[in-house]
Symmetry: D3
Subunit: 137 residues, 6 copies
């Protein structure tokens, strides 16, 4: 079993808040991240796939196909977008790094199975100081 | 003459567009950056100051004071903010990295002179692939 | 279960040696790190916490609280300090990265439980070429 | 149990291809990586060793000895070399990052056991966007 | 006047040697870099353009056009290639980082003038420890 | 004229203080950096040399010789040392990054001239947030 990882980057706006909180409560819970006018990040995404090496190619997975899958299911939908307003797979969810990481997993898991491999980890850096990892359970 | 640099980071939302363009023209000129719902970045700012070494302290400038100045004049105003809507020193300007870099220079130049040094360069990374530098002329 | 990580940095002096060794033996075992006049590092610390997402906030843990805890229990005690002489939680221990990593775990484990989460990993970079990770057992 | 990691770098040329494929098929499967005139990378290698802390030294393993082992068994054989043509431990294997990572594991496992520790992970970055990890099974 | 920089990456094989030297002399002068079987690098290229801000767009240069120019004139010709054997603009030149940097300048200077800006600097990292900059004179 | 840069790293302890100040004044001026028990850093040094390309070798300077010079004149004297107590070229100087950068210039300038090139810049990172550059005048 080998683990192969692909890094991708996207830039997006978001806001942390609850509609059922007033502004003061949102600020107490979410701090500056609750700014109603949005802020944003350069998100760095690491997608790790686990599998056996294909003896014919020496690959666990064809990285071009993996990259194309991440592009189509994630990057095209979220890059230069507003996570709260425009990303279908985040509809109805808070735009925390935790929930975004898990939603990316859900977007990719089945697609990667179709490529003949198994999604092992999704890791998402919001800044150089904060990142979240999800292993599917 | 020595050159000393302080790095600071801020996260902000922005949009590239002109009000006198329609959406189609904005997209042609500014691409994905014209998204009306905003996107954002982790901006990395490098402020370089030039000066002689103070023989009493071994410093060109007290970095704590430089950092406090950058904090008060830049970071407090732009971090977790919307550059187009909320940043006083960007009012009426397009939120390109070029104009933001120059505006940061204008915010800092006089303040750094009051600290007894000379602002030499403002460098601003929008992403790991794009950055702008301004030397004041 | 999600894993969220916070990065913090501290700068400290240390020395690797045993009092019951003479200088020659210390040098044989610990090399340049045994220099009696100390040397130092910019240590980079990664603290990973595991937990379920709080459905109310979208958070595993409030990162501001996690950061404040790391600040109070670790950074305030070790930043710009001498690890061998001044850090209470390293008293009587050798100042190796291994033992420092484990001591940081012991400082943080209970505090993070009080924040409602579980400490999963402490990872400590001494240089860009060397780092240690501890998972608590 | 602690995990200690050593980073090393090597620069090498390689090519992904099968002798039993014609050039067109090699290009379809391996893309630009199949270029018959070679291309190359700055590979970054992370070797992680697991073990208990030696109470006498505070070390899991003496990093100088670990580094010397990696140097002798890996770096001296592969740095500034052609992976397909010149590296004994890659003879008869395709020069994919996956198979290279596993071959490095096989080179190091027994040597590290002789140093009194256990090889836990070999992680190899081919570029900043792609890396492979192997845990020995 | 502002300075805007675009980063691009390419992976290539090369060799430092002179045909009029024998292997022993090549090794004495160029060390491991003279390996007849090639080695390679992940080269990181920084192209800096100087210009006034266009008041209509807020841009010194349209970065998409700059990136397309670098792609067409440099990356397409050198990425996943052998610099000594396959790169038209390096024909008859030694494949040192110095000469490669200057050749990239010569490839880009006129093209960037056609985009309405002025090439200011080409900086090329061969490794994280070595890089060359050329300012055109 | 081309500019070639070599990166080197050293780890050292230091303290910012004046003997003619009492502890309270030292703390007011130098903050935590005045800790009498020392602290330390992983310093990253960039040495840039300017010169014409030697048409015989394609080099501005032989990087192995440049690296050996930096090793002998700087790294061997300062790595794993106490800058205030043990570094001959810092004797009688305050251990600020500014004065250290200038002292490294003075150590290297003549040596690099003997290698047939001209020292252009010494840049020294104390942390990822602070660095100093000196151009010799």
């Amino acid at each position: 079993m080998l683990y192969i990882t692909r890094r991708e980057i996207f830039n997006a706006a978001h806001r942390l808040f609850r509609e059922d909180y007033d502004d003061k409560t949102n600020f107490e819970v979410f701090g500056k991240c609750s700014n109603p006018n949005w802020h944003g990040h350069n998100y760095t995404l690491f997608v790790t796939v686990a599998g056996e090496v294909n003896p014919e190619t020496g690959f666990v997975i064809n990285l071009k196909e993996l990259s194309k899958t991440i592009q189509g299911k994630i990057i095209d939908k979220i890059d230069h977008k507003n996570i709260n307003l425009e990303v279908d797979f985040m509809k109805g969810k808070m735009a925390s790094t935790e929930l975004l990481t898990r939603a990316i997993w859900e977007q990719l898991e089945e697609e990667i199975r179709l490529l003949g491999a198994r999604l092992f980890s999704v890791k998402l850096y919001e800044t150089e100081n904060n990142f979240v990892e999800y292993l599917g359970e």
